[in-house]
């Protein structure tokens, strides 16, 4: 294990209790809304914040365990950290920033491999104030990697970048992380970062892990409302019997599941079709409902359908005009049983 931790700590009124593990060569994304405690997790692993209970082990070394009074200060943990706004030392040049770590470790100051790997050759004599966001991010990464860390911690590494730079840097970052032999824990609130960069996702909400698993699985089977909303899908909880889901909020949906008992159903808004008249066709779920809300969402329009069950449909702007969709309109909706993904809860 690159890192293996049960982190229990209290910061003011906020109570964090999360388990996290990361194998060498693996990238784990800690995904969650603002205030979920993601950055606090990184601060405890790096040693900037002691935990109240639990344990943190990096490689095989216990770096924090209150029960045994074990605590290794951050400067001896060799956990490389990249901060959200990079925190490049403003009074030092790029070269001095990158050399800062090796110098502290009294290692040879040859940082050339990192300077090459992150393409910093032309920036060495600049001060941080003279760098673009993407450049500063590369310097911060080089500075952390130059300490030869046993673990890399990235706190919202793309949040400070503008949209145009973000896509390119995200791709580059994926490339660098794949080359890194040890574990990486990356904190983000952007699902795209997690999908592109992580092998596994740990979802953290309000100080607790609410879901974790391989990236593809977490992305296709969101179990929490936060994650469903983040991925743009609707989550329905209920109980299923013979494929018929009795939704907790009222109403029923016909699915093709063979499960029975408590379930969560995931429905993509694109799977719901809207019609002026009762549609003919094979869809098992056909019902009449009222348009509750209309929301423009990139190149799609999201139509909130009054329940029960309350669902969201996504249609093209042209369809909105064609169907004359407006709040309060009575409309027919259809949804194939096979388009409802059902998971035991």
């Amino acid at each position: 294990m690159s890192v293996n931790a049960r982190i229990i700590t209290r910061v003011g009124d906020f109570h964090l209790d999360a388990e996290i593990a990361c194998e060498p060569g693996e990238t784990v994304a800690l995904l969650g809304p603002n205030g979920a405690g993601k950055s606090t997790v990184l601060r405890t692993i790096s040693g900037l914040l002691p935990i109240d209970d639990g344990y943190i082990r990096i490689d095989a070394t216990t770096v924090d365990e209150p029960a045994t009074d074990a605590f290794i200060p951050p400067e001896h943990r060799r956990a490389g950290m990249v901060f959200q706004d990079y925190l490049l030392f403003p009074h030092m040049t790029v070269r001095q920033n990158v050399e800062f770590g090796p110098r502290n470790q009294r290692k040879d100051h040859n940082v050339a491999p990192w300077i090459d790997a992150l393409d910093l050759g032309d920036l060495l004599n600049r001060k941080p104030a003279q760098l673009s966001g993407g450049q500063a991010q590369r310097v911060a990464l080089a500075r952390a990697l130059a300490t030869d860390p046993r673990l890399l911690l990235l706190d919202e590494p793309l949040a400070a970048l503008d949209a145009a730079t973000k896509a390119k840097v995200r791709g580059d970052l994926r490339h660098y992380l794949q080359a890194f032999a040890h574990g990486t824990v990356i904190v983000t609130h952007d699902p795209l970062d997690a999908l592109v960069l992580a092998d596994r996702i740990v979802v953290l909400e309000n100080g607790r892990v609410t879901q974790h698993g391989p990236t593809a699985q977490v992305a296709s089977e969101p179990r929490t409302d936060y994650l469903a909303a983040l991925l743009g899908v609707t989550l329905i909880r209920g109980s299923v019997h013979d494929g018929v889901i009795a939704c907790d909020g009222g109403g029923t949906l016909i699915s093709s599941t063979s499960l029975s008992g408590s379930v969560v159903a995931v429905i993509r808004p694109q799977a719901i079709s809207l019609h002026t008249n009762k549609p003919e066709g094979s869809a098992r779920n056909v019902w009449q409902t009222t348009v509750a809300a209309i929301d423009a969402h990139h190149d799609q329009v999201r139509i909130g359908l009054a329940g029960p069950p309350a669902l969201t449909a996504a249609v093209t702007p042209a369809a909105v005009a064609e169907l004359a969709i407006a709040p309060g309109l009575q409309i027919w909706a259809s949804l194939k049983a096979t388009d409802i993904a059902v998971y035991a809860s």
Binding site: P73, G101, T147
Partner: protein
Amino acid sequence: MNKTTAPAPRLLIALAFLALAFLLLPLIGLLLETPWTRLPELLTSQAATEALRLSLVTSLLAAFFATILGVPLAWVLARKEFPGHRLVRGIVLLPLVLPPVVGGVTLLTAFGRRGLVGQYLYDWFGIQLPFSTAGVVMAATFVAMPFLVITVEGALRSIDTRYEQAARTLGARPRTVLFRITIPLISASLFAGIVLAWARALGEFGATITFAGNFPGVTQTLPLAVYSALEVSRDEAIALSLVLLAISLTVLVSLRGRFLGGRS
């Protein structure tokens, strides 16, 4: 002109000019009465050169001690929470408002030959601080250190401490963080604090004359020399005052960006 500014009442303008005149007239008076032709002769007299040399040496030493003692004190005040924090801060600031002559009296009660600490220094080691050049340095440090402490403390509170955290994740021990991150980040304020402390030490009069006396060549600094000269030679007093004025102006100009709201 800033058009959003309300029109100024005439009384206000008149009083503002009066205030400016009040500050400016003494300077003009000094310049008008300066015996320019005799200036080289007056400033190269033995009393003048001795006072100037003594002032420079003692004020620089005072700035040095104020810095090596004041920076740690400022760091503790800015970074550590402890019982009595407000009281400590009050003690640090006291010399700013205390009449310097009272400061001199308190120094005598502590370090005088029969003082709290002074009696042991004298009895055990034969060290006598009052009425010595060392006493001049102590008096100047006493009044000057608060300027450095409040300047540096303010700077320490205003910098982003996450730079220090970043340094620790990069393997820097607390001492390395202090010397390579914290102090460079506050260097502008630290410089300003040192210059302010030095200027205050250079102008120190009350605590010095009380604690160290007024002995030419030993404890008679420039301000004391001005005071003594006034009784015998007004021209000499003015000439020495001019030197102090020139130094003050230099300090003001060197710090203009930091305290006068101008650009540095």
